[in-house]
């Protein structure tokens, strides 16, 4: 079950990134016809990032302490000191933007150019931050493996 949570957390993050790209493209082509689709996509972004927060938060609080100890003993301590420390705080930027997205998308984007640009900017920064955070997660995960190999744990390779 814990492995499911571990993998579900970046999966929901990536689904949120994909949905934010969807919002960006729909807002770029905003019209009366896709108004409800933009709102639905915006709510999907929010839902995915809130679930990613809950799952990642559970993992972070329940299991990360032991992984942190492994990383700090290995050859890549910066994977915690820089990458994880930044990642776990950076996450709240796209989360806040995702919470705001459905509120901004409630406006008629076809008629309000300002609201349309706001939605596009919020969606773009959710996607860019999300990709950076996914990459950071990969580095942290790999740092555990590198540290385990370095410590001579059998079967990690």
């Amino acid at each position: 079950m814990n492995d499911v949570i571990l993998f579900a957390h970046p999966i929901f993050g990536m689904l949120g990134v994909l949905a934010s790209v969807w919002v960006f493209v729909e807002a770029l082509n905003a019209s009366e016809a896709n108004r409800s689709r933009i709102r639905i996509a915006a709510f999907i972004v929010t839902g995915c990032l809130v679930v990613a927060w809950a799952l990642g938060g559970y993992w972070r609080l329940a299991f990360y302490a032991s992984e942190k100890a492994i990383i700090l003993k290995g050859p890549w301590p910066w994977a915690h000191n820089f990458v994880m420390e930044t990642k776990e705080r950076l996450f709240f930027i796209p989360l806040i933007l995702a919470l705001y997205l459905p509120i901004a998308a409630a406006a008629n984007l076809a008629r309000n150019g300002g609201a349309r640009v706001v939605v596009m900017v919020a969606a773009a920064f959710i996607a860019l931050n999300g990709l950076a955070i996914e990459g950071a997660g990969a580095v942290i995960s790999y740092a555990v493996k590198v540290a385990s190999v370095h410590a001579g744990v059998a079967g990690v390779e």
Partner: protein
């Protein structure tokens, strides 16, 4: 004498204005994003641990609560802003806050 209006302002129309929750929560998002980065200041960690048992849990809840409380207050006070300016504000806040976090942890 004619007044000179910047091209960006000349292009903006009242139809581009944001009001209500879209404006209030938009400004709140920009402020909460910057506030989130300020919470990374290490001396706050012990205090956040005392509040929520783990600094990260308190950090996240504080950032999200700040967003909702400020958003409600700005909306209640009928805050209004040009959408293009709000977009620039959100982009600037995200870049400064994200870059600031990375720089902070690269240096400490």
């Amino acid at each position: 004498m004619m007044s000179v209006t910047p091209a960006s302002d000349a292009a903006a129309t009242p139809a581009d204005d944001l009001k209500g929750p879209a404006a209030g929560f938009g400004l709140a998002a920009a402020i909460a994003i910057l506030f989130n980065s300020l919470l990374a200041w290490e001396p706050l960690n012990a205090y956040m641990v005392s509040l929520g048992g783990d600094f990260w849990r308190t950090h996240g809840v504080a950032a999200v609560v700040a967003f909702f409380v400020l958003g409600y207050l700005f909306t209640y006070h009928k805050f209004r802003i040009d959408g293009f300016r709000l977009a620039v504000l959100l982009a600037a806040a995200s870049i400064v806050a994200g870059g600031g976090l990375a720089l902070w942890f690269a240096l400490v």
